[in-house]
Symmetry: C2
Subunit: 268 residues, 2 copies
């Protein structure tokens, strides 16, 4: 897996992921609950932002969490232990060389991982093989092409495009969310049920304005500023203009929208 | 009201509006039901595409439908009569010179109208005055900036942009949906409850692929081809390329997404 650009490194990034998990967990995960006794794999748990919710919502399931980064795994272990969760185990592993037999899990869960991979279909094919017949594969991704805001701003679009380009240069796709059904189809999956999860933030929803517009999305874009400048994709002035324009959408007469996509496939 | 470009004229356009109403009515209107005895104004009913649903869902309410076009009103009258609806009256009127006293209605409903107006805030202010204290104003609009599809296609984006530009030249805004809260705020309304209505069409939802991707959205874009060519915004070859690319998103491995916005304000 390319490490050129993967979210989740650095302290500020960690805080962002924690905030994101709190704000979004209900929207994204409320309908993901695994039965008692089931064996669940979280593929690419990172620092455990989603793991906290997934494990807490399915206290009778056992969740095996893998990630390629030992450092991220250490954080995930620490956070889930601090939350009193005991139905977890952690294992360092590469998605391309997973140490599991076919049909080893009842359910596989993968969230905000495919966006970073140059070969999402291959990885989905691998994950599908790990699910026992009748089990499920759940995939969640965002899509930066879904961003809408008011006031409209070319400067804000420019900063978002910097992240899209950085992710593309690292082999990923920041606009992968809309493609979950085609990707799963290409990986040989049965027809998925895809449900968009729409984030709408205006002054009538202050928790979303603060938790998502400011602390999740704008913070994420701010987090790639140095890389964007180093890559020659922007200038300090242009990038800061864009950040101010994004912050502007969090004002009382502003609006910010983003769509995540969740796909659930039952394995034949 | 400018007539330079308003949807709803011509036979093909009418069929499109009928199909759109059927596919979308549940998504957009399922939560709009007015109590028995209430006086409802539909401002800008056009050919009655939404009227059919609104009047049928609130059989005890009386719906007054106004439109600036006598021809559209005649169609709306005919269609609602054919559907057996009797809780309606029709009146030709201009949104800028409405023949009603303040607080004449319990509820006002306006759908796919503001997108065509150069002065949506003024019209909203007028409509708000017509609602009695405690009544509601409901506003529904689409937003062409919300379009997402797979496979991505610059040609398809070009044709969509033709419609956006035509609508802008006529004084409207095809991307108005996201702005409902700010517009209502500017018109002096109390805080609206805005709920996005997300259309997701892939092979797992064939009714949406046919009813929305093909017969609503692509048909609507196809409907502005002649105007786009006449305005010098495109060439026949480029426009047809775009239409084919939109049709391509309706194939088994394609995806099409669109978002409508619905705002409900309780008038103080």
């Amino acid at each position: 897996m390319s490490h050129a650009y993967v979210h989740g490194y650095g302290h500020r990034e960690q805080e962002r992921l924690h905030d994101q998990a709190r704000t979004l967990s209900e929207l994204l995960h409320h309908d993901t609950r695994y039965p008692t006794g089931s064996r669940v794999l979280e593929a690419g748990c990172g620092t455990g932002a989603q793991t906290l919710t997934i494990a807490a919502q399915s206290p009778g399931a056992h969740v095996t969490c893998i990630d390629i980064s030992a450092e991220s795994l250490a954080h995930a272990r620490e956070r889930t232990a601090a939350a009193g969760l005991r139905n977890l185990s952690f294992q360092q592993a590469d998605l391309r060389a997973l140490p599991f037999d076919a049909a080893s899990f009842d359910h596989v869960f993968v969230c905000f991982v495919l966006e970073h991979l140059p070969d999402p279909v291959d990885v989905l094919r691998t994950l599908l093989r790990l699910v026992r017949p009748g089990g499920t594969l759940t995939v969640i991704e965002g899509d930066h092409g879904s961003v809408m805001f008011h006031p409209e701003s070319a400067a804000a679009r420019h900063t978002i495009d910097c992240q899209v380009q950085l992710q593309a240069r690292a082999g990923g796709d920041a606009c992968i969310g809309r493609r979950l059904q085609p990707l799963l189809r290409a990986a040989g999956a049965a027809q998925a049920v895809v449900s968009p999860r729409f984030v709408y933030a205006d002054a009538s929803r202050p928790a979303w304005v603060d938790g998502f517009t400011r602390k999740t999305f704008t913070a994420m874009i701010e987090g790639v500023k140095d890389e964007a400048l180093a890559a020659g994709l922007s200038t300090p002035a242009a990038f800061d203009d864009g950040l101010r324009a994004l912050q502007r959408t969090a004002e009382p007469d502003g609006v910010f929208c983003y769509t995540f996509f969740k796909a659930v496939v039952q394995v034949a």
